[in-house]
Symmetry: C2
Subunit: 370 residues, 2 copies
Amino acid sequence: MNSHAGAVARRLERVRAELAELDLEGLLVSRLPNVRYLTGFSGSNAWLLIDATGATLLTDGRYGQQAEEELPRGAGFEFLIAPDGVLGELVVEQAKRQSSGSRFGFEGRHLSFAEWERLRDVSLAVEWVAVSGLVEGVRAVKEEEEIAAIETAARIAATALAETVTLVEPGVREADIASELDYRMRRLGAQRPAFETIIASGARSALPHAATSDRSVREGEFILCDFGAHWRGYCSDMTRTFVVGEAETKQREVYELVLAAQSAARSALRAGVSGAEVDAMARQVFAEADVEERFVHSTGHGLGLEVHEDPRLGRRSEDRLESNMVVTVEPGLYFPGWGGVRIEDALVVTEDGPRALVDLEASELQALPL
Amino acid sequence: MNSHAGAVARRLERVRAELAELDLEGLLVSRLPNVRYLTGFSGSNAWLLIDATGATLLTDGRYGQQAEEELPRGAGFEFLIAPDGVLGELVVEQAKRQSSGSRFGFEGRHLSFAEWERLRDVSLAVEWVAVSGLVEGVRAVKEEEEIAAIETAARIAATALAETVTLVEPGVREADIASELDYRMRRLGAQRPAFETIIASGARSALPHAATSDRSVREGEFILCDFGAHWRGYCSDMTRTFVVGEAETKQREVYELVLAAQSAARSALRAGVSGAEVDAMARQVFAEADVEERFVHSTGHGLGLEVHEDPRLGRRSEDRLESNMVVTVEPGLYFPGWGGVRIEDALVVTEDGPRALVDLEASELQALPL
């Protein structure tokens, strides 16, 4: 058994333990990143049926050779190829083979109503039970290799930004900055950007999730850069906001406030703390300055195979932090018509506190924003 | 009313006509590209509730300003902002306001079981009816501006490929070719690649949806390039397969066969024909050469706001082609361990036959493959 096979066998074991708690004999995994986590298969169309005896990957004809190559040897995996368009039917076929009265879980938030209806109508032998966040909970606590992969992605992104900012000057378009940044991440080894790079300048920086536009940046304006690299399946996520040229007093004040909120939330990161508690630390700083209502999103989220995953650091989050979770901390303030600031870093949760994935204090990027 | 407002008003009218046929008073649109099509809103988290009197966009706090900017004026749109994490609750609140006994559609293939369960349990006044492909059917027939946008995306992609192939020589990595191609599409005006660019060389070209790897290309090998540009929301999609240096006889034979299949399928494109009939034209060419089983996917798909949309050109497709649909035609042959060839173009369906989006016969790209 190679190390990939070892990793997926351990993950499957953790999932089986969760299933046993819920008195379930198996699980139909329909959420693609969960399928990838449990099998290593990276194709864009697949389901995984975990039953009492093993696990069967179901995919379509485009992915036969890839399934052969990516599935671990000797870990009890089978795979089946469905002719195009009928993957759902193959899933039903497999479900029908289970013994009568079996209780199987399915991912209630990642199975469509139409797919569920078909399972319900056709596979009478199985009792289907919606589960929520089961595989995601296992994924939230990272293995060493996973943290190393996110760290590599984060370093690539930070290095690419340091290269790109040297090109920023009045008159350059947001779209040009984004394409230079993405190009550099690729040249540095990223498979692709982890998500669509956001470069938002001037008043557009007040749009927390603006799409990059063709607008040219001007002297004295904010430029908000939210971006990440995708490396061997894992995502990084980072935001920096800086000013082209000299910052005005108000720009500096808003920036310092966001930095203070980020610092407060970061310092709260520790195994045992809830997502809501971390979020409250950032929100408290803004409340004291009477700008709480200008912080229009949550404080952070887990990072891994997906750019947004568990745990959530938000007002209502009951997620409890554990060692080796990787999360972003990204408070921001947005003033429509004027501009916005967001500062985002990714950190590993430990028993003793947070560990930043990229040591920015040692890099030229510390001095960059403002 | 500006032209954007006019376009969305017309689209909404087409959807209302479909709803009336099904005796439905409204529709909950949960599929994001459908929301974008019907409102112009391009954020990543939104629902649209169409009811008897108007249409309400529901999104979260990150997108307040963007909704303000993107929603058309004077077209009867409202929007509501939900605090983070509770968008589903806001949808339920809106549903509760409908009069008792109303019949509303929801998108059965794009609402999760968990979301559906919540609607069912909470909004008792409304009878929820699953619909399938309703907005997608309206989207499949393109307006003039939409065809022009896809055409622009297709030109950008073709020009970027022509620039990139001049850099291909033995020793260059697949990943380098992909990053150069993506970079050039961006410089030519694309907002981003329409999907993850596939560059697959040597035996990897036999993986119909291979991810680009770090492998270096070698003299005499196939390089399969499947890529597209994203321009103002619209996608292009194109595949070219060529050989580094001189092609061998078998490479040339396989290529000619795929080209013949593509040509046969293209010539069948015409309003009134079914997706299955177009698919059969390509398959027939392969059957005559006794290699049908090496064509492991379907012949093509619609192209628009998404890179794969209706209509489908596949063995089982009952979709009927109409004028102004835009589809890809992309047969391929794949020989595991040896290599594969796919040739893909996008075409507009008319009453009289197909119209290619990029006139490759007039460009240097015609001579490119082999």
